[in-house]
Symmetry: C2
Subunit: 581 residues, 2 copies
Amino acid sequence: MSKILRVNMTDRTAKSEDVPEKYQLLGGRGLTSAITCDEVPPTCHPLGPNNKVTFSTGIVTGTTAPTSGRISIGGKSPLTGGIKETNSGGMAGQKLARLGIKAIIVEGLPKEKGKFWLLKVNKDGAQLLPADEFAGKGLYETYPKLFAKFGKNVGIIGTGVAGERLMSMAGVCVNDPENRPSRYAGRGGMGAVMGSKGLKAVILDDTGGPGVPIANQEVFDAGRKKLVAALQEHALTKPGGTLNTYGTAALVNVINEAGAFPTRNFSDGRFEGANKISGETINETCKKRGGVGMTGHSCSPGCIIKCSNVYPKPDGTELVSCQEYESVWSLGANCGIDSLEVTGELIRLCNNYGVDTIEAGVTIGVAMEAGLAKFGDGKKAIELMHEIGKGTPLGHILGNGAAITAGTFGVVRCPTVKGQGMPAYEPRAIKGIGIIYATSTMGADHTSGYTIAPEILDVGGKVDKFIVEKADLARNFQYTTAYIFDSSGHCLFISFAVLDISSGLEGVVEECNGVLGTNWTVDDMLRMGKEIVDRERAFNEAAGFTKIHDRLPEFMKYEKLPPHNVVFDVPDTELDKVHGR
Amino acid sequence: MSKILRVNMTDRTAKSEDVPEKYQLLGGRGLTSAITCDEVPPTCHPLGPNNKVTFSTGIVTGTTAPTSGRISIGGKSPLTGGIKETNSGGMAGQKLARLGIKAIIVEGLPKEKGKFWLLKVNKDGAQLLPADEFAGKGLYETYPKLFAKFGKNVGIIGTGVAGERLMSMAGVCVNDPENRPSRYAGRGGMGAVMGSKGLKAVILDDTGGPGVPIANQEVFDAGRKKLVAALQEHALTKPGGTLNTYGTAALVNVINEAGAFPTRNFSDGRFEGANKISGETINETCKKRGGVGMTGHSCSPGCIIKCSNVYPKPDGTELVSCQEYESVWSLGANCGIDSLEVTGELIRLCNNYGVDTIEAGVTIGVAMEAGLAKFGDGKKAIELMHEIGKGTPLGHILGNGAAITAGTFGVVRCPTVKGQGMPAYEPRAIKGIGIIYATSTMGADHTSGYTIAPEILDVGGKVDKFIVEKADLARNFQYTTAYIFDSSGHCLFISFAVLDISSGLEGVVEECNGVLGTNWTVDDMLRMGKEIVDRERAFNEAAGFTKIHDRLPEFMKYEKLPPHNVVFDVPDTELDKVHGR
């Protein structure tokens, strides 16, 4: 029987608890959000004694289900002031699941400020160990030391200097299969919540762990096979397919062509240097430079899609893993930078200091708007990232994200919703994703409902990107995502195969039924997705959010975006229809 | 017939408009808030093209009514994100009134960023003149240059470098009778809204102006006499009385004795160095040092109370005007500083850079909490103020106030409501003022309803400071304040005489009736006060505020305040009762 591990940082205790009945069938985001709603007062200070951070595995994480290694991290976000769930691939999710732990809940503040601790968990239990020797340093230095101490086969969930310094851009870092500090549950500043609790890292050693119990192996196996087949069939997800070959940055040219590639702090929808930072260029460069450089890298064992990469320097040695779409956009086009060498170095610094690449790029874009650097100045962008690493006053501004940076420098063109920086799709040019940004419980977040699939990729149907009547679409995508992807433990990228191939969707349902011993249908999962979103919305409402917070920034309503010269013209009534306000 | 002057900064036009019927009987806050509600979209960016800043005189301002020289400045606040009215004494209100102008509405953004303009207004009209030569400098340098150019008898409403840099701590500065840049409509960052519009200053030359029409001179005169008599009778407001002798800093020892003097960033209610920064010490020092130093200085012609002072250096030459209660507290006790030389210098820097002394002190307290300086380190506090003046990244953090500073450095003990720093009364130790802070439309603001009168000073009755059932008290004070003080044009400090002496209150009513030709009663004025507050609340609600925003910061609910070891224990239901939510 799986357990919940409850860790108190004030008295430094860790105790195992039975999983309450009401949480038995939950996982991932469903579970972190339920625990947050049950245990965290919505009006508490995110960095104060009453917030909690919860780590939870997906329902099928730790099994042989394909592309299902996600770990969810939840609590009240210091970036948005609302509820947050952010998930990551990497090595931690499966290990936590195989240790028989459904969730770790970390609560309380340490008695001594500035002290840090490691939470070491193995089959025999959990303990807190002093971590001061691992604090204050870049993660490329820290992670190898942790592996040297705890062995190469542990999973690490850590936070960097940004989290130690309580910066709300701080992400939570999970090691990849080669133990790089490179997979991030980046969004919403959950690394700062870890930092506030003095929790430097969680070390997961699943040696001898009980594994994930499967209630009905036959049902599970049938589901797994269906999903594997769908993933291997779909053009985007199959071996040698688009994501495997070009990575997520395959989207660069597609979105740029659509005039929806946010450029120079969301002042243009098309970037003249897009192709230089595209998936095609990444692929060619990796091939040309060779060395460790490769595309088709996987971020987590058991992934079929393998969209990650390890990008080489000119001499073939490793620069960084990985150059993905959101990162080459945010740190590239959004800053007017058209060099993969520069985006690679910036991504490396994000990994090293422990910050979200999306928020970092959106913030540097705002800083450039404020005059701290010229758009396109990669050298200066790198210097700005180092300010975060050094913890200077400027670093503290930037490290707290785009909204704080805009507030500090009086920048009106601030592309955030609920304080969170927008991802790589211009909502003026793709209305559905704008509705998602506006109405997501998470702030501006494409992963809350990836309507780009039908709006741009002709996946799961085909919907004109300029049509504004998309409340129903946005609602359905949010519900689907909350359970079928974010709670099952699968990566969002299975959605392409699942949306287009009905047996793939059946496969996910059957996998969950197999693990849990349930008999759910797709409709059940949508209903549970709705329950998750409704619960999160209730938390946000109790935290002070209204429909006014379900809006895009004002400038998008009066500034026309080239090349289509469009404003965000979705009526407020359509936005309010999403959640029936 | 009075007019409204409408100034557009985009096309640089100024035109005179008739006062619409609905605004005929309004003045001061009643008028700025009505215009803001009618013309400013509640969800607009405060520094964007759709916000407006309105300057309005009180109903009796410009007449011979005593202590009535207030000017109100309103719009959407960059500090709180809600509606804002902030008012000041000084020389501008009366001159604007005597020019026959009820309000100046400034709208639009200039086409060129970084350019500044002066709005010169005289009996012949208004024009915008280039102000670049007056920008980028301290106001102690700028104001004399402006008087040299426009004559010594003009009124100036200006903003400093903080406003030019769009910092949300930026106040609006009005010259005092000796033309010092020392009287501030400080709160809520309206100086930054001026800055965003490129409006460096308004120059008011009332020579030959029509004056304020009085509909019924007899009624007005009778009212004026009653108010004058009451002010001259009350112990707090009479010549040689408490305020005249010790200034507002007479409160230092009183509030400290009550255990409600916020000390070292609201971590204590009693300051061991209080007496060193008290009104008594100010008075003694002024007497001892002589020179220009004097107490009983007036901030505006026609004031009977004269609570201001001009504080001397040891050699008797002028250090600053003035050392008032809020400033010696915020920049003194709240930073652990017990030296009037230091508070004087800090106040001088606030005046020079154009920032609100309350927000500045609360911010430095938070910065000290963050470790940027030790509590009590006056030298370092002065250096921090200079950062604002220099516009460094740290200066931009601080210049945007306590909430941004706390957010940037991860400080949980952040004493703000709706983003505005708390004034000099600890809400844990004086519950009624806490209810005001929580439920005011303006953010934490003692001037929205000065319940300190009955809770501490036994003025207007006597109410135990620890009693929590004060929704009715808080509501009545807010309504009274909105019209009888903030709209009439009188200084809030007439409230002592008006609350204790019924003929004084009659006097205010009759003054207004005399000017307007109305036949109002006190109840009418309370009704109109309610209308103003309701309108402001509607604006805030449309801007996204809920009852959750009518709360004090969480730490005050769990951190016990010495010496009484009290938390803020007013139930949320009591807070919600104030405005009937």
